[in-house]
Amino acid sequence: MKAKVHVTLKSGVLDPQGKAVQNALTGLGFGGVDSVRQGKYIELDLEETDAERARESVDAMCRQLLANTVIENYHIDIEG
C-alpha cells in the first residue's frame, strides 16, 4: 500500500517561510493571496496490505519521527 503524509505547522505557530513566499507572490503581482503555510509531503511504500493496519503503523511513525507534534499536525492518506 502507499501512504501519503502531509505534515503542516499547527495554526498559531508562525511560519516565516510561508510568509516570505506570500510576500514573493505579492511581489510577482499575484494579488489576493491572504496567507501561505508551507509544509512537508512524505510518500511511503508499505508491504502491509490491510489499510487499517497500515494507517495505525504510519500514525505511529508520524508520532515518533515524521512529525514534531509540538509544532506540527499530520494527515495520512492510505491508498491501495
Binding site: 498559531g12 508562525l14 516565516p16 519521527l65 515524521l66 514534531n68 509540538v70 509544532i71
Partner: protein, 230 residues
Amino acid sequence: MKSAVIVFPGSNCDRDVAVALEQSTGRAPVMHWHGDPQLPDVDLIVLPGGFSYGDYLRAGAMAAHATSVMPTVVERARKGVRVLGICNGFQVLTEAGLLPGALMRNTNLSYVCRDVWLRVENNRTPFTEGYGLAQVVRIPVAHHDGNYYADDATLKHLADKDRVAFRYCDRDGGFRAPDNPNGSRDNIAGIFNESGTVLGLMPHPERLADPRLGGTDGRPMFDALARALG
C-alpha cells in the same frame, strides 16, 4: 570530572567543546560515536553543535530518534546525569523530549552567525553558577534554526519555575527586538529541564572560552561544571 562528547555524522563543534572541557577540567572528554550504545559512565554528557544528519527531516530529529546512543543518553539524563546540548545539541534535546518546545527556522530566514548578548536568568545551577544573576555575557551564535517556540502555557511554566537559563538581550541587559537574532519567543536562548540537570542553549560558549579566540565569556560555564562535578 569525567565527560563525554557525543559525535554524530555532521557534528562540527565536537572538537571545540572538547578543548574547552579539557581546559577547565584538566581531562580530555571521551569522544563517543553515536552508533555505540555502550556509553561509558561519565558525569557530564555533551551534545555538540553542528548539523547532524544534514538537518534531514528537522534539525536534530534523526540524531534524537535514529541513533543507538540516544536511548542511553535519555536514560542517563532521567537518572540525573548532567547533559549539555549546544546549538544542534539543543535541537536534539527538544526532539528527544528531554526539553520542552522546538527550535524552528529563524524568523528572518537567514543563517545568523555573530556574537550576541545574553542575560543570565538563573545562576543557581552547575552550568551557570560561574555567572552573576542578570550578568550580560557575549557569546556567538551560528544557526539557521534557533527560533525557540513553545506554547503559552509552556512559556509561563518555564518562567514560573525559573527554567530559563539565558535570554537574548542588548548590551545593557534590556530587551529590544533587534537583539533577538532569531525570533525566539520570550527571547529564550537556553532552558533547563525540571531538575536543572539538563541545559540546552543555541549560543556557543565553547567558541569564546580562550582569550586567543577573542573572549572568555563562555569559559565560566565549563569552569563551574568542573567545580560542581569534581
